[in-house]
């Protein structure tokens, strides 16, 4: 809180309240009003998170902007919010994307406009809640609640095969979430009757229990990241989701899983984390190399970018489990950058899909002839996805690879193969879609970006280049917390 003003609560509840207001506009007769309220709400929602950055104290690893109130005293469950250097940027990232998604769906969504916009606003508030919750039950509530709007977005505005995608997603997540709840209840008992995550961090736990807790959390978080081999829901979900859904899924929701490792698995079970680090690193490297290769021959653009996401998230988990500062900070930077870049790429595909109603690479060719402005933006984001220096995509990968060399040269060797594979699948897709002579009459009829689309892409382009050329503002905010985190996970928590 600054000056008694509950910044985080406002960041959570303001978009949710606006979401309810949007719902109140009723059916599609009032669609323009719904869009306007949604835009105002989402922009305000972003503006209110800015004090979290400007007012953030760089020299402490303590939780900041803390709000702590009783919620269910019977079980000592609290409404306990706060941010540190690890979580603060994700709150901004979440709030940053909501207006972009609202604008991106402005004309494209014509049915149930109010419900669509409201889903995104409410989801935005809930995801901020996930990143800010310091009470385990509060976290769990946000965690589960987050899925509802996403299910609706895929289920109502999704593609033809949305039921299969939703069922698959459900199968994957159900198991993980339930195991996490069991682990939380165990920790409640072990910590002497507290659901505070910070108390969990200090609780001593024997090795066997740590391993079980780690595995329970692993199922919850690894599915979300997603890590190999629990990743196959993501390509299907992306393919079926509308553009806005894909953007939020890739940019924010995947980060929630990675964030879970940092907030729960590693600090609560540090000894198990070290014990199982080899497995985690192996899974991460499989994600980078195997998924990088799988992405190469995808014929559906969205699937290709979805696989590319999984491969890039492999860098994140690799960075976590090599336990050094480069790895950790590189991973966090990679998470933020991946938000921008994958979000931008899904928006690019959305632009094409809105015009051609196809995600199939083979249906395109020579788009640059009719959409040169779009081609330029797409080039920038494709290069960022290939990790070109000067774009945000380079920063995290570079630092994680440097950290991996420090841990074991061969980790870095495997991870650095993304330089080749990442460029190969991204630029090969770019070549087939954008370059060449006009492939067919549909491509010949394409119209270039509207001013609304240009506005969205300009914002993202500035962000991607800005972070690539000057990432210091992103990294300095996480320093103290990361250092403290590394000290914490290096300490054994086994009972004496």
């Amino acid at each position: 809180m600054i000056f008694g003003f509950p910044v985080i609560s406002v960041a959570i509840w303001l978009p949710i309240i606006f979401g309810i207001l949007v719902l109140a506009t009723g059916d599609d007769k009032n669609a323009p009003l719904a869009r306007m309220i949604a835009l105002v709400g989402s922009v305000l929602g972003f503006l209110v998170t800015i004090p979290l950055y400007t007012g953030f104290m760089l020299d402490t690893a303590e939780m900041q902007f803390v709000e702590r109130h009783q919620w269910i005293p019977r079980f000592n469950i609290e409404y306990f919010l706060g941010v540190d250097g690890i979580s603060v940027l994700f709150i901004l990232l979440t709030a940053f994307f909501t207006p972009l998604v609202v604008v991106a769906g402005w004309k494209v969504i014509e049915k149930r406009v109010a419900q669509y916009m409201a889903s995104f606003l409410i989801m935005s508030g809930i995801m901020i809640g996930v990143f800010a919750a310091l009470d385990a039950i509060l976290f769990y509530v946000f965690w589960e609640a987050m899925l509802i709007p996403m299910f609706l977005i895929i289920g109502v505005w999704g593609g033809a095969n949305r039921v299969y995608a939703a069922v698959k997603f459900f199968l994957y997540t159900l198991l993980g979430s339930l195991l996490m709840l069991v682990a939380l209840i165990y920790l409640y008992n072990q910590s002497g009757g507290s659901f505070s995550i910070l108390d969990f961090h200090q609780t001593l736990i024997p090795m066997s229990a740590q391993i079980l807790i780690f595995i329970a959390f692993f199922f919850a978080f690894a599915v979300k990241v997603p890590m190999f081999p629990v990743h196959t829901w993501l390509p299907d979900a992306h393919v079926e989701a509308p553009t806005g859904g894909s953007v939020v899924l890739a940019a924010i929701m995947l980060k929630v899983g990675a964030y879970g490792f940092l907030r729960f698995s590693m600090p609560i079970a540090p000894d198990a984390s070290h014990e199982l680090a080899g497995v985690m690193i192996a899974l991460s490297l499989i994600a980078v190399v195997y998924i990088g290769l799988v992405a190469l021959t995808q014929t559906d653009m969205k699937k290709l970018v979805a696989y590319s996401s999984i491969s890039h998230m492999g860098f994140v988990t690799l960075g976590f489990f090599i336990f050094n500062a480069y790895g950790m900070e590189g991973a966090l930077l990679q998470m933020i950058s991946h938000g921008f870049v994958s979000g931008a790429l899904f928006l690019c595909i959305g632009v094409l899909y809105d015009r051609m109603h196809s995600r199939n690479i083979a249906d395109y060719g020579g788009v640059v002839n009719t959409m040169p402005v779009f081609a330029a933006f797409f080039m920038l984001f494709a290069m960022a996805n290939s990790g070109l220096p000067g774009t945000s995509g380079f920063v995290g990968e570079f630092i994680v690879i440097l950290g991996a060399v420090k841990a074991n040269f061969w980790y870095a060797f495997a991870a650095a193969s993304t330089l080749i594979f990442g460029a190969a699948y991204t630029l090969w897709m770019y070549k087939r879609v954008i370059f060449g002579a006009v492939a067919n009459s549909h491509v010949a009829e394409l119209t270039d970006l509207t001013w609304r689309e240009i506005a969205i892409f300009t914002v993202l382009a500035i962000t991607v280049l800005g972070m690539g050329l000057y990432p210091l503002p992103f990294s300095e905010i996480m320093h103290t917390s990361v250092n403290e985190f590394l000290v914490h996970v290096a300490r054994s928590k086994l009972p004496m």
Binding site: N369, I401, L402, F409
Partner: protein
Amino acid sequence: MSMENLYLLVPLAPLVGAIIAGLFGKVIGRAWSHRVTIALVAVSFFASVSIFNDVQAGNEFNGAIYTWLTSGHTSFQVGFLIDKLTATMMLVVTFVSLMVHIYTIGYMQEDPGYQRFFSYISLFTFSMLMLVMANNFMQLFFGWEAVGLVSYLLIGFWYQRPTAIYANLKAFLVNRVGDFGFLLGIGLVLMVFGTLQYDAVFANVASHAADMAPIPGMSVNLITAICVLLFIGAMGKSAQFPLHVWLPDSMEGPTPISALIHAATMVTAGIFMVARMSPMYELSDAALSFVMVIGAITALFMGFLGIIQNDIKRVVAYSTLSQLGYMTVALGASAYTGAIFHLMTHAFFKALLFLAAGSVIIAMHHDQDIRNMGGLRKYMPITWITSLIGSLALIGTPFFSGFYSKDSIIEAVALSGLPGSGFAYFAVVAGVFVTAFYSFRMYFLVFHGEERFGKAHHHDAHDAHADADDHDHHHGLAPGQKPHETSWVITLPLILLAIPSVFIGYVAIGPMLHAEYFGDAIYIAANHPAMHELTEEFEGPVAMAMHALHTLPFWLAVLGVVSAWFCYMKRPEIPAMVQKRFQFIYTLLDNKYYFDRFNDWFFAGGARRISGVFWKIGDVKIIDGWIVNGSANAVGLFSRVVRHLQSGYIYHYAFSMIIGVFVLLSVRTWF
């Protein structure tokens, strides 16, 4: 203006030009696009001249501009190192870039992508300057990849051509293979030295000379590992065997960029990088040997390929590959100054040759096949004379710039005692004949002999492009049409480049090679005395040229020119005869030693096949088919079975109850 601001001005001026032409090109129009970018590159050039003079006066600079990132306890900075090596490179880059900018006005005149082209070449100039001015590995890598990006954009400039967009993807990916090694090398540097700043690394490198590399499972010297990994990056960028495959294809780009990027500047980045890292390379004889052998293979075997090419640009491209091999050999022989010297002279005469080739291409209405040319000297005197100067410089004619640099390299290799230097010496000497032969084959076929243009196209070297009718496409002259000299914006750069192609060697060899010119920028260990001995023998440029008249390389060059004349002017039937006689060798050369086929089949095809297998079997069949849908099906199956238990009939339940009671009782009784 303070010197720091002047340093900043050099890269930023072309960047601003690139942004203006790129974002507002349509608004300000064609003329203003080239005016703005040329003016800003000229600013950059004159600033470089001023910095060069300042550095000569002894004012060097090494400092940060801003902190890019801090992570752990390491601070990654963007900063400049301005010493004599940098100042020389800045001068070469900005001068050639300025020439190419001016030339482009003429060459790209009719192209619809005019503003975009100026934006790209200015962006390239910025990137290349960031690369050479870097004072740390991170920024070096930034420049390294940024020039790769612009190269990608420019090779694919005519994006409608299938060959162009194939070539640019290939160039980018092959370079990425090199960068893969480069990045791992940087990672090892950071791990061992804890910093990426050149000065701090070089100051400590000697104390790690005997360390083993921290690579589990391999016992290899640390410095050797770092140097070889970094050199793999150089092999990509400077197109050394076996990562050379992208450079000939890069000729799909417009000719001005072939001159600027794929001859004079970007491809020499690898040479510059190794010279910059001389304090490290000097500590590893193994790495130097590796460098020398790779360079020697490139120098000789890529030269052979130049002999059978018929596309004027491809001949020059293979010549570039071969000359890059010479520079690399020089690096391996610890003649870093020789390599940089050859880099500089080569930048001038090779840019000249490419731009002259472009001039010929324009005159020939975009027919690039030298078999359709001949006798052009009558019609294009400036292009003819300047081409002759360029060719003479390239083959190492005494008193021309190329002679001083190339002869120094050959001498240095002769004096090197490293393993592999025997082969390297043979390669660079034999390469002299090859160079002279293919250069003058092209020269004679283009400028002398029968006029073969203006006829129906019996040779169609360009069938691959047959689909597009855009600019720079293979049209050729109409029957009866005569070529004519190109406009002044094209010939002026030719003349301005011809001047240094003649004189720069004569002027610069004394100070640059033999007078401690580079000072601390280049370090040569005492156990690699080749350059030192050369300096002791050196008695001025005139004496060096006179001495060369009775050495083997000179006579090999003469022999090369004479045989080219004999084979293509005097007895044109000989080449066909030789080709028939040695069909096997011709086929091998015509297929470029089958590298492209192998790479396409093994690497590109292999990756796609593995990808298909991983996806169809790993993801779709095992994970989704067996595990995900399998568990769903298992649940379904289970529920289908247990559904029968809940039939809803009272007597079923009563019967099960009785059975249950009976079983329970039996269990209690028996156990």
